[in-house]
Amino acid sequence: MTFKDRTNEFHAIADRIRSRSHVPNALERRSLIQSPSPSGQQASRSEFSLMAAEISRNITSTAGKLEKLTKLAKRKTLFDDKPVEIGELTFIIKQDIAKLNRQIAMLQDYTKRQKQSSKQASEHTSNVVITLQSKLADTSMSFKDVLEIRTENMKMTKDKRDQFLFSAAEQSGPPALANSPLLKSRRRPNNERTQTPVASIGGSGIGNNNGGYVPQDEPESTLSLGIPMLTPQQQQEQMMVLEQDRYIDHRSTAIESIESTIAELGGIFQQLATMVAEQRETVQRIDQNTDDIEMHVMGAQRELLKYYTNISSNRWLIIKIFVTIVCFFLLFTLIM
């Protein structure tokens, strides 16, 4: 954050000074123009700006701590890692972020409770709350990134330690290969003890140069510098890092499985939606068919009705037709 929104602080200070001294009329008018709400609400608005100012101060301090944590986490030295400090800082930053969340939620409730007279004032308060929330979101995103960087670094250091270290729990490669650099190095530990500060830089140099697996005989000289520093205490530290990693790995696997389940669920929903959309077309056809049926049946009923009225109104005609036919039959039989 290169800039800080201090208008709230400015308003707060202006209010405070105004309330403290006798204000001449011109200043009063000017202050009224600046904040067009009645004096009762001015007290509540300055309280709001005080709270918002405090929250933004806390956010900047948390951002500062986060910067320190980033610097610590980015260090790639092999042996001089400070897990205690990093853990403490992480814990403090987590607490800060939770506290800021609570404060912003309180601020939001507060603004909802206070009814602002002018539309601009309520817009302003909501804008301020939104700005604070977005700043906090940015801070927490960068915190998450820093944690990711830290876990990656820890994994890298663990891998590099594995290359140099022969530990019973981790033994996977051929023992002979791992034994030889250790044996060679153990032969000259006493000479190299004085060069430990150089060794740490050498170790970090290795870390920076060799990203992946290193053939065992290539950095032999630096290996011999690096290994004597690995006291039993640091072996135990490495087991500790292993333990931490195991816990973190467990968590990450669990979360990954949850994530894949959610993705699968999303796919299922998508399929469901597609199938229902396809069936919609079928349903439309059925609708059309039923409309046609209704139309036909109505028409047929009309015709039948017409026929019926025809028949019933035509009775006299029928009688007359019948009479003429009967007459014709009689004529024919009489002639025959």
């Binding site: 669990a254 949850i258 469901l272 069936q279 046609d292 036909h296 026929y307 025809n310």
Partner: protein
Amino acid sequence: MKIFGILVLKKDGDKAQIIASHYDLSSFGYFQRGSVQEFMNFSSVTIGERTPPGTRQSVEGENNVAHVYSHPQGIVGVVMSDKDYPSRVAFSLLNRVTDEFLVKYPNATRPVNYTELEGYVVRYQDPKEADPLMKVQNELDETTEIMRQTIDSVLKRGEKLDSLVDRSEALSSQSKMFYKTAKKTNACCVVM
């Protein structure tokens, strides 16, 4: 998967001291409970003294495991459980217990009566229900099962809709014939 006990220790320098604990020893015989509790106290103190702050450890015994988390602010939380209990759940429980303990008793040096421990022991006996991650996973699995059943019923619905279409088409043509016949009867040969 059971929890046998949760302990909170205060650590200054290299010495650890138990300041809160709760046990659930119902699975042990009545006469064993005392010795088991003593053993737990002793081993948790020993392990707590040997855990550097800010780290987690799991120590396995013959048929139980001690999960240890050493909080940077000098509090060590220990969970004694059997081997099947997932370590992740135990460590998240320890996180919560230590954080809340610090909030409630920030400067405890003598044993205090921390009543929430009992609630935690009871609740976390079944890790599937207590741990949010596992609960979410469970619910997601149930939801996918329900969704699969839904898709099956949607398929059946599709089949029924297809048969409906055929029948409505047949009905439509029949009604058309009906209409035509009626019209024909009306129009031609005004016989009667």
